[in-house]
């Protein structure tokens, strides 16, 4: 890849596939259930986590030699919380509309276990550049699943994508598109259990394609 050594490239690539934080490490499930009813929310959350994880991993890695091990979890928590609050304040001042969409996610980002997990498992033991890549990679792996789940939940649950109707008009009397042939939106897709089942199906597909991932 020229730009990145083979080992560095793996930091980005692995979390996208065989070491995905959601489907393999089973982290960050809570937020994956909470916000994937709409594709737009999934994308916004993905971008936010990408930013927080990239910069958070970098900061923790730079501080790794001076953090007292006894209070390292608290220090990690403070770093995430500070980052998120500062971003929120800046958005409120300069991009108010965007900040209103994001406000729901602020709390969810701080408690996202992928972030704490990567701080603890990677950034505390590795240099800044590699930690930064690891953060970006894991956030991208998280984003990938979020967007897939969000795509199917919004499509099947509401018949829209990014708020735009793609399957026609479901209102009785004005039916158009697939609704004319008796298709109906599945409201159940909008509820949390179906997010879990969708993630389950992704895990199933992934493991049946790569048998090495199956645990005994």
């Amino acid at each position: 890849m020229g730009l990145l050594s083979k080992k560095d490239a793996a930091l980005i690539k692995d979390p996208l596939t065989d070491n995905n934080p959601i489907t393999i490490q089973v982290l960050g499930i809570c937020s994956a259930l909470a916000i994937t009813a709409e594709l737009e929310a999934s994308i916004v959350m993905s971008v936010a986590v990408l930013f927080v994880m990239g910069s958070g991993n970098l900061i923790i890695s730079l501080m790794r030699n001076i953090i007292p091990s006894k209070i390292r979890i608290i220090v990690q928590l403070i770093v995430v919380a500070t980052l998120v609050i500062i971003v929120d304040l800046v958005l409120k001042a300069f991009a108010y509309e965007l900040s209103k969409t994001l406000s729901v996610f602020v709390g969810l980002i701080i408690t996202n276990c992928i972030i704490m997990g990567r701080f603890e498992a990677f950034a505390l033991a590795n240099g800044p550049w590699r930690s930064f890549l690891d953060g970006i990679g894991n956030a991208a792996g998280y984003a990938l699943i979020l967007i897939i789940v969000g795509f199917f939940r919004e499509l099947l649950g509401a018949g829209t994508l990014l708020g735009i109707p793609v399957l026609g008009n479901p209102i009785p009397g004005e039916l158009s598109g697939v609704y004319k042939y008796g298709y109906e939106n599945n409201g159940f897709m909008l509820l949390a259990p179906m997010a879990l089942i969708t993630v389950g199906i992704i895990i199933w597909i992934q493991r049946s394609r790569n048998k090495e991932l199956i645990e005994d």
Partner: protein
């Protein structure tokens, strides 16, 4: 040998240092940006009020406010009077829109305080709109609305918003398919205040019957919907005496 970073004294000093740095960083950011944030909130209130009375730039199915650079002009053009109602006394106050409904609601719980109720009167195309702010609880956090009514307390427009309802479910109260259902709905029934219920299993999903005091609920958003019903009931009812006086004039 024990590492330097494992010592108790180091840990305590580190913690103190970190708190000082992070604390001042956050305080600095918060106070530095406060002016801009407050200005954004003020503009948003004006946009919300104008939206409720139908001054907006709606396109297709999406709700769009008048743009931020035009809002101050539009606000002074359309909003002709701002009133504050307290203890039945009506006074004019050009900054009534800055009244914090959340604070007023909290104060009203104390005895001996009667809530200040802001009411904005707008004129558009010869029609008069009475716009009231209301506030209540959703599933996760606060929900609020600006409701525009005519002199008979028939709703002419509404803007709903929320702090943290679930995206795709309760958050849809700020979508047009929900807000527009309120237009034309009667708050009164047989001369007394009834409010509007966000109803599940409504026999009228297309909302043709405007006098049934019901609009269709959003699937999967029961608690947010109930919050909407109850804030309409509790907050808009307080404006009833004003509308009664209006008729007796």
């Amino acid at each position: 040998m024990e590492k330097r970073t494992d010592k108790n004294s180091y840990t305590i000093l580190f913690a103190i240092g970190m708190v000082l740095i992070v604390g001042s960083l956050l305080a600095f950011a918060a106070s530095g940006l406060k002016g801009r944030i407050d200005e954004n909130k003020r503009i948003e209130k004006q946009q919300n009020i104008l939206y409720a009375m139908g001054v907006n730039e709606n396109e297709g199915n999406s709700a769009i406010f008048v743009s931020t650079d035009k809002v101050a002009d539009e606000f002074s053009k359309y909003i002709t009077k701002q009133l504050v109602i307290q203890d039945g006394n009506v006074t004019q106050d050009d900054e009534a829109y800055l009244i914090d409904v959340k604070k007023e609601k909290a104060l009203a719980k104390k005895e001996g305080y009667s809530r200040r109720l802001p009411l904005f009167i707008g004129e558009k195309e010869g029609k008069t709109f009475y716009i009231a702010p209301i506030r209540g609880k959703g599933l996760w956090d606060a929900i609020w609305a600006y409701v525009a009514m005519d002199e008979n307390m028939v709703i002419q427009g509404a803007y709903f918003d929320h702090k943290a309802e679930t995206p795709g479910l309760g958050a849809n109260i700020k979508q047009r398919f929900f807000m527009d259902d309120f237009i034309g709905e009667h708050l009164m029934s047989n001369g007394s205040f009834k409010g509007i219920r966000v109803a599940k299993g409504n026999a009228d999903p297309k909302n043709r019957d405007k006098t049934d005091n019901e609009v269709d609920a959003i699937a999967g958003s029961t608690i947010t919907g109930d919050g909407v019903s109850s804030m309409i009931k509790s907050d808009l009812k307080l404006y009833m005496p004003y509308f009664k006086n209006l008729k007796n004039k």
